[in-house]
Symmetry: C2
Amino acid sequence: MDKLECLFCQKSFPLDIFFPFCPLCQEPLLCPDPLSNKPGIPKAFPTIKNWYSWLPLSTYNPYLSLGEGRSPLIRCGNLLPSNELPPVFFKNESFNPTASFKDRGTALAIQKAVSLGINKIGTVSTGNMAASTAAYGAKARITTYLLLKEDTSDQKARTPAVFGPKIFKVKADYGKLFTESYSLGKKHGIYFMNSVDPFRIEGYKITGFEIFRQLNNKAPDFIFVPLSSGGHLIGLIRAFQNLGHSGTLRKFPVFVGVQAEGCAPLVRAFERSESRFRRIPEGKTVAHSISNPDPPGGNIVLKLIQKNKGVLVSVSDEEILEAQKILAVKEGINCLPASAASLAGFFKLKTSGRIKKNHISVLIITGSGLKKLTPTDTSSDPCLSISLRKLDTVFSNERKIY
Amino acid sequence: MDKLECLFCQKSFPLDIFFPFCPLCQEPLLCPDPLSNKPGIPKAFPTIKNWYSWLPLSTYNPYLSLGEGRSPLIRCGNLLPSNELPPVFFKNESFNPTASFKDRGTALAIQKAVSLGINKIGTVSTGNMAASTAAYGAKARITTYLLLKEDTSDQKARTPAVFGPKIFKVKADYGKLFTESYSLGKKHGIYFMNSVDPFRIEGYKITGFEIFRQLNNKAPDFIFVPLSSGGHLIGLIRAFQNLGHSGTLRKFPVFVGVQAEGCAPLVRAFERSESRFRRIPEGKTVAHSISNPDPPGGNIVLKLIQKNKGVLVSVSDEEILEAQKILAVKEGINCLPASAASLAGFFKLKTSGRIKKNHISVLIITGSGLKKLTPTDTSSDPCLSISLRKLDTVFSNERKIY
């Protein structure tokens, strides 16, 4: 019988896939650490299947995979003058089936769902998680329900819609919708794999394992990750906790969760050394994907960050947009503002002097910029119209034109 | 001194990076086969660097990489009733830095450019190749020129524009623009890495090598690939030619190039067993990325397909759109119509009886559907608007609603 654990009450409970929350304190439950104390590190560059002994799976079905994971760790070259630049790598999660890190979590949750005989899944989301859940639902031939906010644009609903899920725009407060989805799911046998689902979080662990493998079985000094519901950061921290327990980790990395200033309830609590955050009325930032005024995994994040000497920082919209531009024009990476928060957070810590020249940093790019075209300047036509015969003159005199 | 070869004149010429065409017959020149007769097959799941001895590179600079390649080979599960389905795999090239196969070619061409001291690159393209070239140009800190057709929409130009290239919409016939780009490039020192660039083609070889490795050092029976300029198919065929020359290949796969009926100059020539194709006035198909009425690599494709017992087939727009829908709703893969041509071609050969139950097929998905949202039905709102309290009733009675 599978069990889940509460970090706060220090108790474990039998798995209820439809309601993975602590019956005592209502915080999200997490999976226990891997049973085997010292699972081996797979060689080469492994898939989910190869991390089997680190994951809460009793079966692995290859027909449920969309090729998730094994994203590249890209060397950064051009961010700062080379004599000032400590080693920086981008872990680019847009190399995933629906172009965001969410696929890591959905891939694991769908394995669990099928192994439990679940035939209906769902999620509450407005963006990346909806597309991811719909794609895996299609692959697994499982009916998929997406609950979106009432004001979600048709344009935004089209990305998940291609996979044929059942989509509802619901007239309700988003927080209430999140809570209510579980009651509805339990009643109607729909497994809502939402942002802090314990199996989704286990899927995010694999990103951490890969970083460790890609750096030749070593942790970086810093890992920067945009912070919203908390699920992603919790999964990444758990990866290194698992590695620590297995005896293969020499030094725990410093995790840096980055929120936008306009929506930073966890940073506020962190700065006040509080163990619980207070929800804010509303998030206001260009980084929509990390605008969550009431993150369901927030208290777990605070606990894990405080325990592991991590850091939470906030960055302004201007810093985010500048980082997004730098990533595109200097590093060839097209990402959404929320992803660029990693780099904005890196600059913040670099400026503060916390990052030394020999410190290795990994910046997680959470998803592709193709999901929404947000060029650095949308107001002007990016092109110059010209005749073929004039091109020659232009190339000869281009300095005068640009 | 690097050399390039003409398949038709059977001669080799010193490399002119600015004009890689045969001075005698004007066909595109190709790189010679790898010098070493038996380069080793790398273990694990290698990057470009590990295929070094199979590629025309004398240096490898890791700072030019955007993490290209190593795309997954995904098991197909739901296309046909399971008792009728031969083994089918999708090689999904949307797992690349700018979400299309073009990155494979650009990644290699940029290595070559930098090793030759080139400081200006360009391409003639309206879509995927423009974004790819701009991204790698940004990473390499090389000025990048994109020449687009005059009627290219601003929307379409925005994807490459984020990387900061110099973009020109040129008033000229597209075929003429392609030809002229080389004269301009030669005069102004701009390396135009267009669709049939010999180094770009060498980059596409790696996709073939990966398929061979992913099937445990075996070729599949069939490889389906959408066919436009010809560069991609030429690269894939060359991969297996190289493997054959190295002595590691038991059986050469049957390559199936798929064109849209509305733009199928190469299929016409193939069906008439002609060695040269005739350009058609205009392409008309929903699969824009493979609508090339005058493919520059066309004659090489015909020669290689005839020599290696390959096949060229055309599929209708209806078949393409149906295949695109099946990929999304049954396989969880969101791709553009051009990519879905692979599956439409597979269905065609399956129906003809050519593919037996034990034949392994690999279908290449050339790029991501995120580049343009083309849901199966754009006319209607994909969502149902509803109140939270009514959701319960809906879930209870959903059969009545859908």
